[in-house]
Protein backbone atom coordinates (compact mmCIF):
# COMPACT_ATOMS: atom_id res chain seq x y z
CA UNK A 1 0.00 0.00 0.00
CA UNK A 2 1.20 3.51 -0.76
CA UNK A 3 1.30 5.87 2.21
CA UNK A 4 -0.25 8.61 0.08
CA UNK A 5 -3.46 6.55 0.27
CA UNK A 6 -3.76 7.54 3.94
CA UNK A 7 -1.74 10.75 4.13
CA UNK A 8 -4.54 13.05 2.91
CA UNK A 9 -6.97 12.13 5.67
CA UNK A 10 -7.10 12.15 9.43
CA UNK A 11 -7.08 8.80 11.19
CA UNK A 12 -9.68 7.28 13.50
CA UNK A 13 -7.86 8.06 16.70
CA UNK A 14 -7.65 11.75 15.76
CA UNK A 15 -11.29 12.02 14.79
CA UNK A 16 -12.10 14.25 17.75
CA UNK A 17 -14.68 11.74 18.94
CA UNK A 18 -14.88 9.34 21.86
CA UNK A 19 -15.48 9.86 25.58
CA UNK A 20 -14.08 13.08 27.12
CA UNK A 21 -12.72 14.03 23.71
CA UNK A 22 -12.67 17.76 24.48
CA UNK A 23 -9.65 17.05 26.69
CA UNK A 24 -8.53 13.49 25.90
CA UNK A 25 -7.51 13.31 22.24
CA UNK A 26 -6.55 9.66 22.19
CA UNK A 27 -5.79 6.57 24.27
CA UNK A 28 -2.99 4.14 23.61
CA UNK A 29 -1.85 0.85 25.09
CA UNK A 30 1.49 -0.63 24.13
CA UNK A 31 2.92 -4.06 25.01
CA UNK A 32 6.61 -4.97 24.80
CA UNK A 33 7.38 -8.60 23.93
CA UNK A 34 10.45 -10.63 23.00
CA UNK A 35 10.82 -14.08 21.49
CA UNK A 36 12.22 -16.87 23.64
CA UNK A 37 15.37 -18.43 22.25
CA UNK A 38 16.71 -15.20 20.76
CA UNK A 39 19.02 -12.54 22.09
CA UNK A 40 17.72 -9.03 22.61
CA UNK A 41 18.35 -6.74 19.66
CA UNK A 42 21.40 -4.91 21.04
CA UNK A 43 23.28 -8.24 21.06
CA UNK A 44 21.82 -9.58 17.79
CA UNK A 45 23.81 -9.68 14.57
CA UNK A 46 21.89 -8.52 11.47
CA UNK A 47 21.19 -12.13 10.42
CA UNK A 48 19.39 -12.87 13.68
CA UNK A 49 17.44 -9.60 13.46
CA UNK A 50 16.38 -10.55 9.93
CA UNK A 51 15.25 -13.96 11.18
CA UNK A 52 13.18 -12.39 13.98
CA UNK A 53 11.69 -9.92 11.52
CA UNK A 54 10.73 -12.68 9.09
CA UNK A 55 9.20 -14.83 11.80
CA UNK A 56 7.12 -12.05 13.36
CA UNK A 57 6.10 -10.50 10.07
CA UNK A 58 4.68 -13.84 8.89
CA UNK A 59 2.72 -14.29 12.12
CA UNK A 60 1.39 -10.72 12.16
CA UNK A 61 0.41 -10.55 8.51
CA UNK A 62 -1.65 -13.72 8.97
CA UNK A 63 -3.62 -12.34 11.95
CA UNK A 64 -7.32 -11.74 11.59
CA UNK A 65 -7.73 -8.20 12.92
CA UNK A 66 -10.98 -7.42 11.19
CA UNK A 67 -9.14 -4.91 9.01
CA UNK A 68 -6.70 -5.00 6.15
CA UNK A 69 -3.09 -4.93 7.35
CA UNK A 70 -0.04 -3.70 5.48
CA UNK A 71 3.67 -4.05 6.05
CA UNK A 72 6.29 -1.31 5.92
CA UNK A 73 9.97 -2.26 5.73
CA UNK A 74 11.01 0.61 7.97
CA UNK A 75 14.72 0.14 7.23
CA UNK A 76 14.03 0.42 3.51
CA UNK A 77 11.64 3.36 3.13
CA UNK A 78 12.83 6.95 2.47
CA UNK A 79 13.38 9.27 5.46
CA UNK A 80 10.30 11.34 4.58
CA UNK A 81 8.03 8.30 4.86
CA UNK A 82 9.63 7.42 8.18
CA UNK A 83 8.91 10.90 9.50
CA UNK A 84 5.34 10.64 8.21
CA UNK A 85 4.81 7.39 10.14
CA UNK A 86 6.15 9.06 13.29
CA UNK A 87 3.87 12.08 12.85
CA UNK A 88 0.94 9.71 12.54
CA UNK A 89 2.03 7.86 15.71
CA UNK A 90 2.26 4.61 13.78
CA UNK A 91 5.91 4.06 14.71
CA UNK A 92 8.27 5.66 17.23
CA UNK A 93 11.22 7.94 16.50
CA UNK A 94 13.54 5.17 17.69
CA UNK A 95 12.00 2.72 15.28
CA UNK A 96 12.11 5.17 12.39
CA UNK A 97 15.76 6.03 12.77
CA UNK A 98 17.10 2.85 14.39
CA UNK A 99 19.48 0.34 12.86
CA UNK A 100 19.20 -2.99 11.13
CA UNK A 101 16.34 -5.03 9.68
CA UNK A 102 13.05 -3.77 11.12
CA UNK A 103 9.48 -3.23 10.04
CA UNK A 104 5.94 -2.40 11.03
CA UNK A 105 2.64 -4.16 10.46
CA UNK A 106 -0.15 -1.59 10.44
CA UNK A 107 -3.92 -1.93 10.30
CA UNK A 108 -5.32 0.18 7.48
CA UNK A 109 -7.65 2.02 9.87
CA UNK A 110 -4.54 2.76 11.96
CA UNK A 111 -5.90 1.52 15.30
CA UNK A 112 -3.15 -1.09 15.50
CA UNK A 113 0.58 -1.17 14.82
CA UNK A 114 3.17 -3.82 15.53
CA UNK A 115 6.72 -2.53 15.46
CA UNK A 116 9.14 -5.36 14.83
CA UNK A 117 12.72 -4.90 16.06
CA UNK A 118 12.29 -1.56 17.80
CA UNK A 119 13.92 -1.75 21.26
CA UNK A 120 12.24 -5.12 21.83
CA UNK A 121 11.51 -7.76 19.21
CA UNK A 122 7.87 -6.78 19.22
CA UNK A 123 6.03 -3.68 20.34
CA UNK A 124 2.27 -3.86 19.87
CA UNK A 125 0.11 -0.78 20.12
CA UNK A 126 -3.60 -0.07 19.96
CA UNK A 127 -4.76 3.53 19.58
CA UNK A 128 -8.31 4.86 19.93
CA UNK A 129 -9.98 8.25 19.93
CA UNK A 130 -10.91 9.87 23.25
CA UNK A 131 -10.70 8.13 26.60
CA UNK A 132 -11.00 4.44 25.67
CA UNK A 133 -8.22 2.69 27.54
CA UNK A 134 -10.38 -0.30 28.55
CA UNK A 135 -11.26 -0.93 24.92
CA UNK A 136 -7.57 -0.58 24.00
CA UNK A 137 -6.41 -3.14 26.57
CA UNK A 138 -9.15 -5.56 25.64
CA UNK A 139 -8.24 -5.41 21.97
CA UNK A 140 -4.48 -5.56 22.48
CA UNK A 141 -4.84 -8.56 24.81
CA UNK A 142 -6.82 -10.37 22.15
CA UNK A 143 -4.16 -9.65 19.55
CA UNK A 144 -1.38 -10.63 21.97
CA UNK A 145 -3.15 -13.95 22.66
CA UNK A 146 -3.42 -14.66 18.95
CA UNK A 147 0.29 -13.99 18.43
CA UNK A 148 1.20 -16.10 21.41
CA UNK A 149 -0.47 -19.11 19.83
CA UNK A 150 2.18 -18.94 17.11
CA UNK A 151 5.35 -17.91 18.95
CA UNK A 152 6.92 -18.38 22.35
CA UNK A 153 7.57 -15.21 24.32
CA UNK A 154 10.53 -14.71 26.67
CA UNK A 155 8.85 -14.94 30.05
CA UNK A 156 10.02 -15.59 33.58
CA UNK A 157 7.63 -16.67 36.35
CA UNK A 158 9.30 -14.20 38.66
CA UNK A 159 9.87 -11.18 36.42
CA UNK A 160 7.11 -11.63 33.84
CA UNK A 161 7.66 -10.66 30.21
CA UNK A 162 11.40 -10.13 29.80
CA UNK A 163 12.30 -6.91 28.03
CA UNK A 164 15.55 -5.47 26.72
CA UNK A 165 15.36 -2.65 29.26
CA UNK A 166 14.50 -3.48 32.87
CA UNK A 167 12.22 -0.42 33.02
CA UNK A 168 9.66 -2.26 30.86
CA UNK A 169 9.94 -5.56 32.70
CA UNK A 170 6.89 -7.48 33.96
CA UNK A 171 3.75 -6.59 32.07
CA UNK A 172 5.67 -4.67 29.40
CA UNK A 173 2.72 -2.32 29.30
CA UNK A 174 2.72 1.37 28.56
CA UNK A 175 -0.65 3.03 28.96
CA UNK A 176 -0.83 6.57 27.65
CA UNK A 177 -3.30 9.30 26.92
CA UNK A 178 -2.85 12.38 24.77
CA UNK A 179 -4.30 15.38 26.56
CA UNK A 180 -5.15 18.85 25.33
CA UNK A 181 -4.80 21.23 28.28
CA UNK A 182 -4.88 24.79 26.91
CA UNK A 183 -6.86 26.32 29.76
CA UNK A 184 -4.54 24.93 32.45
CA UNK A 185 -1.70 26.48 30.49
CA UNK A 186 -3.45 29.85 30.01
CA UNK A 187 -4.34 30.10 33.68
CA UNK A 188 -0.77 29.28 34.72
CA UNK A 189 -1.67 25.98 36.38
CA UNK A 190 0.13 23.56 34.08
CA UNK A 191 3.04 23.18 36.49
CA UNK A 192 0.60 21.81 39.07
CA UNK A 193 -0.42 19.13 36.60
CA UNK A 194 3.20 18.29 35.83
CA UNK A 195 4.06 18.02 39.52
CA UNK A 196 0.97 15.91 40.29
CA UNK A 197 1.86 13.55 37.44
CA UNK A 198 5.39 13.24 38.77
CA UNK A 199 4.13 12.52 42.28
CA UNK A 200 2.04 9.67 40.85
CA UNK A 201 5.09 8.21 39.10
CA UNK A 202 3.76 9.09 35.65
CA UNK A 203 5.77 10.43 32.72
CA UNK A 204 4.72 13.51 30.78
CA UNK A 205 5.97 13.83 27.24
CA UNK A 206 5.25 15.89 24.17
CA UNK A 207 3.11 15.19 21.15
CA UNK A 208 5.43 12.63 19.60
CA UNK A 209 6.48 10.68 22.67
CA UNK A 210 9.90 10.12 24.11
CA UNK A 211 12.30 13.02 23.82
CA UNK A 212 9.78 15.49 22.42
CA UNK A 213 8.59 18.67 24.03
CA UNK A 214 5.01 19.59 24.69
CA UNK A 215 3.75 21.68 21.79
CA UNK A 216 0.40 23.33 21.26
CA UNK A 217 -0.71 22.45 24.81
CA UNK A 218 -0.67 18.72 24.02
CA UNK A 219 0.72 16.42 26.65
CA UNK A 220 1.19 12.67 26.59
CA UNK A 221 0.77 11.11 30.01
CA UNK A 222 1.92 7.53 30.65
CA UNK A 223 2.71 5.01 33.37
CA UNK A 224 6.31 4.14 34.14
CA UNK A 225 5.92 1.22 36.53
CA UNK A 226 5.40 -2.09 34.73
CA UNK A 227 6.38 -4.65 37.36
CA UNK A 228 4.26 -5.77 40.28
CA UNK A 229 1.07 -4.11 39.01
CA UNK A 230 -1.65 -5.79 36.96
CA UNK A 231 -2.38 -4.39 33.50
CA UNK A 232 -6.03 -3.78 34.35
CA UNK A 233 -5.14 -2.02 37.60
CA UNK A 234 -3.02 0.48 35.67
CA UNK A 235 -5.79 1.04 33.14
CA UNK A 236 -8.39 1.42 35.91
CA UNK A 237 -6.23 3.91 37.77
CA UNK A 238 -5.99 6.00 34.60
CA UNK A 239 -9.65 5.71 33.67
CA UNK A 240 -11.25 5.99 37.09
CA UNK A 241 -8.94 8.37 38.92
CA UNK A 242 -6.23 10.14 36.97
CA UNK A 243 -8.05 11.11 33.77
CA UNK A 244 -11.34 12.25 35.36
CA UNK A 245 -9.37 14.45 37.76
CA UNK A 246 -7.31 16.08 35.03
CA UNK A 247 -10.41 16.59 32.89
CA UNK A 248 -12.14 18.20 35.87
CA UNK A 249 -9.19 20.56 36.43
CA UNK A 250 -9.08 21.52 32.76
CA UNK A 251 -12.85 22.11 32.75
CA UNK A 252 -12.56 24.22 35.91
CA UNK A 253 -9.81 26.24 34.25
CA UNK A 254 -12.02 26.74 31.19
CA UNK A 255 -14.90 27.93 33.39
CA UNK A 256 -12.50 30.22 35.22
CA UNK A 257 -11.40 31.71 31.90
CA UNK A 258 -15.02 32.33 30.93
CA UNK A 259 -16.06 33.89 34.22
CA UNK A 260 -12.92 35.84 35.12
CA UNK A 261 -10.70 36.14 32.09
CA UNK A 262 -13.04 36.18 29.11
CA UNK A 263 -11.05 39.02 27.55
CA UNK A 264 -7.81 36.99 27.78
CA UNK A 265 -9.52 33.98 26.24
CA UNK A 266 -11.08 36.09 23.50
CA UNK A 267 -7.77 37.75 22.77
CA UNK A 268 -6.03 34.38 22.34
CA UNK A 269 -8.77 33.05 20.04
CA UNK A 270 -8.99 36.28 18.01
CA UNK A 271 -5.22 36.48 17.58
CA UNK A 272 -5.04 32.82 16.57
CA UNK A 273 -7.79 33.29 14.03
CA UNK A 274 -6.32 36.50 12.63
CA UNK A 275 -2.90 34.93 12.17
CA UNK A 276 -4.17 31.66 10.75
CA UNK A 277 -6.45 33.43 8.28
CA UNK A 278 -3.85 35.92 7.10
CA UNK A 279 -0.31 34.74 7.62
CA UNK A 280 1.88 33.91 4.64
CA UNK A 281 4.41 31.83 6.54
CA UNK A 282 3.61 29.61 9.53
CA UNK A 283 6.02 27.17 11.19
CA UNK A 284 4.63 23.85 12.43
CA UNK A 285 5.21 24.90 16.05
CA UNK A 286 3.26 28.12 15.52
CA UNK A 287 0.46 26.27 13.73
CA UNK A 288 0.13 23.81 16.63
CA UNK A 289 0.11 26.67 19.11
CA UNK A 290 -2.53 28.72 17.24
CA UNK A 291 -4.74 25.79 16.26
CA UNK A 292 -4.70 24.75 19.91
CA UNK A 293 -6.53 27.99 20.80
CA UNK A 294 -9.04 27.46 17.99
CA UNK A 295 -9.68 23.94 19.23
CA UNK A 296 -10.23 25.30 22.74
CA UNK A 297 -12.80 27.83 21.49
CA UNK A 298 -14.71 25.21 19.50
CA UNK A 299 -14.73 22.71 22.35
CA UNK A 300 -15.89 25.34 24.84
CA UNK A 301 -18.86 26.07 22.60
CA UNK A 302 -19.63 22.41 21.97
CA UNK A 303 -19.26 21.12 25.52
CA UNK A 304 -19.93 24.15 27.72
CA UNK A 305 -22.13 26.22 25.45
CA UNK A 306 -19.67 29.12 25.84
CA UNK A 307 -20.55 32.35 24.08
CA UNK A 308 -18.12 35.26 23.86
CA UNK A 309 -17.61 37.64 20.94
CA UNK A 310 -14.55 35.71 19.69
CA UNK A 311 -16.09 32.26 20.16
CA UNK A 312 -19.27 33.41 18.37
CA UNK A 313 -17.19 34.76 15.50
CA UNK A 314 -15.15 31.56 15.39
CA UNK A 315 -18.21 29.30 15.33
CA UNK A 316 -19.87 31.21 12.51
CA UNK A 317 -16.79 30.81 10.35
CA UNK A 318 -17.18 28.81 7.16
CA UNK A 319 -14.49 26.21 6.54
CA UNK A 320 -13.52 23.86 3.81
CA UNK A 321 -14.70 20.49 5.10
CA UNK A 322 -11.95 18.95 3.06
CA UNK A 323 -13.08 15.33 2.85
CA UNK A 324 -11.12 13.58 0.17
CA UNK A 325 -14.28 13.02 -1.87
CA UNK A 326 -15.83 16.43 -1.25
CA UNK A 327 -12.96 18.87 -1.61
CA UNK A 328 -14.20 22.40 -1.82
CA UNK A 329 -17.37 21.71 0.20
CA UNK A 330 -17.84 24.40 2.79
CA UNK A 331 -19.53 24.12 6.12
CA UNK A 332 -19.14 25.58 9.56
CA UNK A 333 -15.72 25.08 11.12
CA UNK A 334 -15.59 22.03 13.38
CA UNK A 335 -13.17 20.06 15.53
CA UNK A 336 -12.61 17.77 12.54
CA UNK A 337 -11.49 20.77 10.45
CA UNK A 338 -9.00 21.73 13.14
CA UNK A 339 -7.74 18.19 13.72
CA UNK A 340 -7.25 17.77 9.97
CA UNK A 341 -5.21 20.95 9.90
CA UNK A 342 -3.15 19.80 12.89
CA UNK A 343 -2.20 16.59 11.15
CA UNK A 344 -1.99 17.61 7.51
CA UNK A 345 0.24 20.61 8.18
CA UNK A 346 2.90 18.61 10.03
CA UNK A 347 6.14 18.74 8.02
CA UNK A 348 6.21 15.20 6.62
CA UNK A 349 2.46 15.16 5.88
CA UNK A 350 2.83 18.41 4.05
CA UNK A 351 5.67 17.16 1.87
CA UNK A 352 4.27 13.70 1.22
CA UNK A 353 0.96 15.20 0.07
CA UNK A 354 2.79 17.81 -2.01
CA UNK A 355 4.75 15.06 -3.70
CA UNK A 356 8.29 16.16 -2.92
CA UNK A 357 10.63 17.42 -0.22
CA UNK A 358 10.52 21.15 0.51
CA UNK A 359 12.81 23.48 2.43
CA UNK A 360 11.43 25.05 5.58
CA UNK A 361 10.41 28.37 3.99
CA UNK A 362 8.43 26.56 1.30
CA UNK A 363 6.88 24.33 3.92
CA UNK A 364 5.86 27.34 6.00
CA UNK A 365 4.31 28.98 2.92
CA UNK A 366 2.44 25.83 1.92
CA UNK A 367 1.22 25.30 5.49
CA UNK A 368 -0.05 28.88 5.70
CA UNK A 369 -1.78 28.50 2.37
CA UNK A 370 -3.54 25.24 3.36
CA UNK A 371 -4.74 26.80 6.61
CA UNK A 372 -5.85 30.04 4.94
CA UNK A 373 -7.85 28.25 2.31
CA UNK A 374 -9.46 25.89 4.85
CA UNK A 375 -10.51 28.73 7.15
CA UNK A 376 -11.67 31.07 4.44
CA UNK A 377 -13.62 28.30 2.73
Amino acid sequence: MKLTEISGNINEWFSGEGPLSDVVISSRVRLARNLAGHRFLAACPATEKAEILRKLKDVLMALDLGDEVFYIGVDKVPALEKRFLVERHLISQNHAFGKGPRGAVIARREFFTAMINEEDHLRLQVLKAGCQLSACIEQINRIDDLIEQKVEYAFSPKYGYLTACPTNLGTGIRVSVMLHLPALKMTGQIEKFLNAAKALGLAVRGLFGEGTEAAGDFYQLSNQITLGVRENDIVNQFEKTIIPEIVEYEHAARSQLLSHDASLLDDKISRALALLKNANLISSQEALFLLSHIRLGLNMRKHQGASTPAIDRLCSLGADVGDAGNAGTTDKISIVTVNRLFLLTLPAHLQLNYGKELDSTHRDALRAQIIRSALNG
Partner: protein
Protein backbone atom coordinates in the same frame (compact mmCIF):
# COMPACT_ATOMS: atom_id res chain seq x y z
CA UNK B 1 5.13 35.12 27.80
CA UNK B 2 8.75 34.54 26.82
CA UNK B 3 11.41 33.00 29.00
CA UNK B 4 13.54 35.73 30.62
CA UNK B 5 16.75 33.77 30.18
CA UNK B 6 16.74 32.33 26.66
CA UNK B 7 14.26 34.87 25.30
CA UNK B 8 12.96 32.29 22.86
CA UNK B 9 10.83 29.62 24.47
CA UNK B 10 7.51 30.13 26.21
CA UNK B 11 7.84 30.70 29.97
CA UNK B 12 5.93 27.96 31.78
CA UNK B 13 7.46 28.35 35.23
CA UNK B 14 6.63 31.51 37.12
CA UNK B 15 8.60 32.04 40.29
CA UNK B 16 7.66 34.65 42.87
CA UNK B 17 10.23 35.32 45.57
CA UNK B 18 9.69 37.59 48.54
CA UNK B 19 12.89 38.47 50.36
CA UNK B 20 13.16 41.28 52.94
CA UNK B 21 9.72 42.44 51.90
CA UNK B 22 10.80 42.84 48.29
CA UNK B 23 8.84 40.84 45.76
CA UNK B 24 10.62 39.62 42.62
CA UNK B 25 9.16 37.56 39.81
CA UNK B 26 10.90 35.29 37.34
CA UNK B 27 9.39 33.73 34.24
CA UNK B 28 11.30 30.81 32.80
CA UNK B 29 10.87 28.02 30.31
CA UNK B 30 11.19 24.48 31.66
CA UNK B 31 14.71 24.00 30.31
CA UNK B 32 16.13 27.23 31.72
CA UNK B 33 14.30 26.60 34.99
CA UNK B 34 15.98 23.24 35.27
CA UNK B 35 19.37 24.76 34.49
CA UNK B 36 18.81 27.27 37.27
CA UNK B 37 17.69 24.58 39.67
CA UNK B 38 14.08 25.78 39.67
CA UNK B 39 11.11 23.61 38.72
CA UNK B 40 11.06 19.89 38.34
CA UNK B 41 11.70 17.29 35.72
CA UNK B 42 8.59 15.43 34.75
CA UNK B 43 10.48 12.16 34.59
CA UNK B 44 14.01 10.89 35.04
CA UNK B 45 15.68 10.01 31.76
CA UNK B 46 16.45 6.33 31.62
CA UNK B 47 20.16 6.69 31.00
CA UNK B 48 20.53 8.92 34.02
CA UNK B 49 18.67 6.42 36.16
CA UNK B 50 20.81 3.54 34.93
CA UNK B 51 24.16 5.19 35.33
CA UNK B 52 23.28 6.59 38.75
CA UNK B 53 22.12 3.27 40.04
CA UNK B 54 24.76 1.05 38.61
CA UNK B 55 27.66 3.35 39.38
CA UNK B 56 26.47 3.90 42.93
CA UNK B 57 26.48 0.17 43.64
CA UNK B 58 24.09 -1.48 46.06
CA UNK B 59 24.25 1.36 48.54
CA UNK B 60 22.60 0.49 51.82
CA UNK B 61 21.44 -2.84 50.47
CA UNK B 62 24.40 -4.94 51.45
CA UNK B 63 28.11 -4.33 51.89
CA UNK B 64 30.07 -4.11 48.68
CA UNK B 65 31.73 -7.38 47.92
CA UNK B 66 35.43 -7.61 47.20
CA UNK B 67 36.10 -7.26 43.50
CA UNK B 68 35.60 -10.63 41.91
CA UNK B 69 35.72 -11.45 38.27
CA UNK B 70 32.86 -9.68 36.57
CA UNK B 71 30.05 -12.02 35.55
CA UNK B 72 29.64 -12.64 31.84
CA UNK B 73 26.46 -14.01 30.31
CA UNK B 74 27.35 -17.26 28.53
CA UNK B 75 24.43 -16.74 26.13
CA UNK B 76 25.05 -13.22 24.80
CA UNK B 77 28.51 -12.38 26.14
CA UNK B 78 27.23 -9.30 27.95
CA UNK B 79 28.86 -7.88 31.04
CA UNK B 80 27.45 -5.22 33.35
CA UNK B 81 29.76 -2.70 31.75
CA UNK B 82 28.23 -3.41 28.41
CA UNK B 83 24.73 -3.02 29.87
CA UNK B 84 25.77 0.29 31.42
CA UNK B 85 27.06 1.40 28.07
CA UNK B 86 24.05 0.31 25.98
CA UNK B 87 21.28 0.84 28.58
CA UNK B 88 19.65 -2.37 27.39
CA UNK B 89 20.38 -6.02 28.16
CA UNK B 90 21.77 -8.60 25.74
CA UNK B 91 19.35 -11.49 26.25
CA UNK B 92 16.61 -12.78 28.54
CA UNK B 93 19.21 -14.87 30.39
CA UNK B 94 20.88 -11.66 31.66
CA UNK B 95 18.09 -11.30 34.20
CA UNK B 96 19.45 -14.43 35.89
CA UNK B 97 23.16 -13.82 35.35
CA UNK B 98 23.09 -10.22 36.67
CA UNK B 99 20.11 -10.66 38.97
CA UNK B 100 21.90 -9.44 42.09
CA UNK B 101 23.18 -6.28 40.39
CA UNK B 102 19.97 -5.58 38.53
CA UNK B 103 17.68 -5.95 41.51
CA UNK B 104 18.27 -2.46 42.98
CA UNK B 105 17.62 -0.96 39.56
CA UNK B 106 14.45 -3.02 39.07
CA UNK B 107 13.22 -2.00 42.52
CA UNK B 108 13.96 1.65 41.88
CA UNK B 109 12.27 1.66 38.48
CA UNK B 110 9.17 -0.18 39.70
CA UNK B 111 8.49 1.40 43.07
CA UNK B 112 10.01 -1.46 45.06
CA UNK B 113 8.36 -4.33 43.16
CA UNK B 114 10.47 -7.39 42.46
CA UNK B 115 7.88 -9.78 41.15
CA UNK B 116 5.50 -9.91 38.22
CA UNK B 117 1.79 -9.95 38.64
CA UNK B 118 -0.55 -9.69 35.70
CA UNK B 119 -0.84 -11.45 32.40
CA UNK B 120 0.79 -14.86 32.00
CA UNK B 121 1.22 -16.58 28.62
CA UNK B 122 -1.22 -19.45 28.19
CA UNK B 123 1.63 -21.72 27.13
CA UNK B 124 3.66 -21.32 30.30
CA UNK B 125 4.55 -24.75 31.82
CA UNK B 126 2.58 -25.79 34.94
CA UNK B 127 5.79 -25.81 36.94
CA UNK B 128 6.45 -22.20 36.08
CA UNK B 129 2.88 -21.23 36.91
CA UNK B 130 3.38 -22.71 40.35
CA UNK B 131 6.64 -20.84 40.76
CA UNK B 132 4.89 -17.64 39.74
CA UNK B 133 2.18 -18.08 42.33
CA UNK B 134 4.80 -18.76 45.01
CA UNK B 135 6.74 -15.64 44.02
CA UNK B 136 3.59 -13.54 44.10
CA UNK B 137 2.58 -14.91 47.49
CA UNK B 138 6.04 -14.05 48.81
CA UNK B 139 5.69 -10.51 47.56
CA UNK B 140 2.25 -10.18 49.15
CA UNK B 141 3.67 -11.60 52.38
CA UNK B 142 6.49 -9.03 52.41
CA UNK B 143 3.96 -6.30 51.80
CA UNK B 144 1.67 -7.54 54.59
CA UNK B 145 4.59 -7.65 57.06
CA UNK B 146 5.65 -4.16 56.00
CA UNK B 147 2.14 -2.91 56.66
CA UNK B 148 2.07 -4.85 59.95
CA UNK B 149 -1.02 -6.75 58.82
CA UNK B 150 -0.04 -9.90 60.68
CA UNK B 151 -3.38 -11.62 60.25
CA UNK B 152 -3.01 -11.48 56.46
CA UNK B 153 0.67 -12.38 56.76
CA UNK B 154 -0.22 -15.55 58.69
CA UNK B 155 -2.73 -16.58 56.03
CA UNK B 156 -0.21 -15.99 53.26
CA UNK B 157 2.44 -17.94 55.16
CA UNK B 158 0.05 -20.91 55.48
CA UNK B 159 -0.74 -20.74 51.78
CA UNK B 160 2.97 -20.73 50.97
CA UNK B 161 3.49 -23.73 53.21
CA UNK B 162 0.79 -25.61 51.26
CA UNK B 163 2.67 -24.99 48.05
CA UNK B 164 5.87 -26.38 49.45
Amino acid sequence: MQCEVCQSKEATIHLTEIADGVRTEMHLCEQCAQEQGVGTKSYIPLNELLSNLLSAGPKGEEPAEPAESEPVCPNCGYTLDKFRDKAVLGCPNDYEVFEKQLLPLIKKAHDGATCHCGKVPAKIPTDSKKQLEIAQLRQQLDEAVRKEDYELAAKLRDKLAEFK
